[in-house]
């Protein structure tokens, strides 16, 4: 048993036993869903289906239904893609990087954060696929032998790197998540009373029995997967940033993009985790496991990554002037003072100022304030991508080609639709899956549970 310092706040509040942990996590799955769940699910489903309908219309008509024009060939589609991929960065960071750093507070949040990651990457993947126009030939991005002659995809292109990065990230995250889920499904299986539930969880749990050898392998597989996923987290968003950084467009051609995008991704991902978990802990009665200290830890991550993002914005601005390149500096002056000034200043306010408020202890421990900031950060990070993408291309070298981007209603519907679908997936997850890694939480109960830490025996030698 590992012990921790007495001054460290316990991670599990109240007097909990192993059985209580099982009860607390399984009860919401076994009970009838509350009315609120059906209402939220209904709303999310309607919005999601509206998005699906808009995608069908788009595929039937062509991507001309988007608000793109000759100058602005990329706008909401790639903005939404990068936004969703960014959100998808918190889950694997929490479960992989924090596992390597032995941060035990991750155990309360890693399951739902990883679920969020997977659903967010699903949503992200939608955009490049529908942007192809002909979705049914989407498999052409893979180097598959074909009858067109010696025709291969271009391995020099960052867009192809992205194909490999996103598909690796999605599939490895999915495997990591599922391997952790197997023992927890077994717990639900062994408690299930209804035959259908028993059958379903029996299939999902793969016949897990909790043998010592299996746990030995489980721990090593988790560790090695964490070791593999850690560089993956950093590489994926670096590669996403290469989509822009390897081009020669002023405003995109920026060498600091990879670390800047990774920090931004973690920043937005943690904000989304906060938004979801602050509601979920309340709705599912998990306040003893996900409490103020967990929120504070996540707010510190938001503060650090937000400061990196802020530094990157200012560095970028300075270098554009210092470079002495007319077009480069214009790209940045235009962002701040041109027709898209409102987007730029929304981004600056949301992403540079708001995380700095987290230096104040009272604010970063306030759940209401955290919830508000998490929404602000999500909005700010959407604007960041919009500013980088649209303002850099809407006024290029030839003033005759200058243009503005106005989203069509299909642009908006597809974006809102992905948010709806995301919540459809997340609500299904919260209803049928163990939202807490319950068997992992049991391993820290004696080391970090409140009633154990406060007992007089805790600091005696064991």
């Amino acid at each position: 048993m590992q012990k921790e310092a007495a001054i460290r706040e316990p991670l599990i509040l109240g007097h909990k036993t192993y059985h209580d942990v099982t009860e607390d996590v399984c009860r919401p799955i076994e009970d009838k869903a509350p009315k609120m769940w059906y209402i939220l699910f209904g709303i999310a489903l309607v919005i999601g289906l509206y998005g699906v309908g808009s995608i069908m219309y788009l595929l039937g008509t062509g991507i001309g239904v988007w608000g793109l024009n000759k100058t602005i060939g990329w706008a909401w589609d790639i903005t939404n893609f990068v936004w969703w991929v960014g959100i998808g960065h918190a889950g694997t960071l929490i479960s992989a990087v924090l596992l390597l750093f032995r941060q035990k507070w991750r155990m309360a949040i890693n399951r739902s954060a990883e679920a969020m990651t997977i659903f967010a990457v699903f949503m992200a993947g939608t955009f490049p696929l529908i942007h192809m126009g002909r979705l049914w030939v989407g498999y052409w991005v893979m180097p598959i032998p074909n009858q067109f002659g010696s025709l291969w995809v271009n391995f020099n292109s960052p867009l192809l790197w992205d194909v490999f990065a996103i598909s690796t990230y999605l599939s490895v995250s999915l495997v990591f998540w599922y391997i952790g889920l197997i023992p927890d499904f077994a717990t639900i299986r062994d408690r299930a009373k209804k035959p259908l539930a028993k059958k379903m969880y029996s299939i999902l749990s793969f016949g897990w029995s909790g043998r010592a050898k299996h746990w030995n392998r489980f721990e090593l597989v988790s560790l090695v997967l964490a070791g593999l996923a850690t560089p993956l987290v950093f590489s994926v968003h670096s590669i996403v940033s290469f989509d822009f950084a390897t081009s020669v467009i002023p405003g995109w051609h920026t060498t600091i993009f990879p670390p800047y995008f990774v920090a931004g991704a973690v920043f937005s991902g943690f904000a989304m985790v906060q938004t979801l978990l602050l509601i979920m802990r309340k709705a599912m009665g998990l306040e003893a496991y996900i409490h103020t200290k967990h929120v504070e830890y996540m707010n510190i991550v938001i503060m650090v990554t937000g400061s990196i993002v802020g530094t990157a914005y200012i560095t970028e601005l300075f270098i554009s002037w210092y470079s002495g390149v007319e077009y480069e500096s214009y790209a940045f002056i235009n962002r701040a003072t041109g027709p898209y000034w409102w987007a730029y200043w929304s981004m600056m306010t949301c992403n540079v100022i708001s995380p700095q408020l987290m230096w104040i202890r009272r604010l970063r421990r306030s759940l209401l304030f955290t919830f508000f900031i998490s929404i602000v950060v999500n909005i700010g990070m959407w604007f960041e991508r919009y500013v980088i993408i649209v303002t850099s291309i809407h006024r290029d070298y030839v003033p005759a080609a200058w243009s503005m981007h106005f989203p069509s209603h299909i642009d908006i519907a597809v974006y809102i639709g992905t948010i709806g679908l995301f919540f459809v997936f997340f609500l299904l997850f919260a209803r049928f899956f163990p939202v807490l890694a319950l068997n992992e939480v049991k391993t820290i109960l004696k080391g970090s549970g409140q009633s154990y830490k406060e007992s007089p025996d805790y600091h005696k030698h064991h």
Partner: protein, 178 residues
């Protein structure tokens, strides 16, 4: 040959570990331990060897790296060298920097999936497999040791019962298996 199996149940991981230590010191072989979460330190006591899945992950990763290198060399250098801006792809090395991201991603993909599949196969945990834990509570808050009489010829059943009585347990269940 028929065999008798003893399932000794505890409600605490540390108590089980200490009991296992005492039993092993008296020469009893413990066949298996079922627990809801990993009990740290139980493996050397009951003689479970450290898994070699880590080595497998490395080999799968190496396979991925090799495949990525061979593939990209064939596609981009041998089969159809592209001439981009007057800079043709003469050799793999000259073009290697552009191949780093995919080499890395493919290595990780093969290592992770190869290891995960091996893990599931070695555990025999696959969709539709039946659960084998002796008591449904072992995935909740109970910990069970499995002792087989056939592993412990030198000790009689009554001697074993005496030892267990002395060490203590929560529940004891005996099963005949054919």
């Amino acid at each position: 040959m028929s065999d008798k199996v003893l399932y000794v149940m505890y409600d605490d991981d540390h108590v089980l570990k200490h009991s296992a230590e005492k039993l092993v010191s008296k020469g009893v072989k413990i066949a298996e331990v079922f627990s809801p979460f990993p009990i740290h330190g139980i493996d050397p006591i009951i003689g479970v060897k450290q898994t070699r899945l880590g080595i497998m992950a490395f080999l799968y990763g190496l396979t991925g790296l090799t495949l990525a290198t061979i593939g990209m060399r064939f596609f981009m250098i041998t089969d159809w060298p592209m001439n981009i801006g007057g800079k043709p792809n003469f050799s793999y090395l000259e073009n290697m920097l552009a191949f780093v991201p995919i080499s890395f991603e493919f290595t990780v993909m093969c290592a992770a999936h190869g290891m995960a599949i091996t893990y599931l196969l070695r555990n025999k945990t696959l969709p539709g497999m039946p659960a084998q834990n002796p008591d449904p509570r072992t995935t909740d808050d109970k910990f069970v040791m499995e002792i087989r009489l056939s592993d412990n010829h030198q000790i009689s059943e009554s001697e074993l019962d005496g030892m267990l009585q002395e060490i203590g347990y929560l529940e004891l269940d005996k099963k005949e298996i054919k």
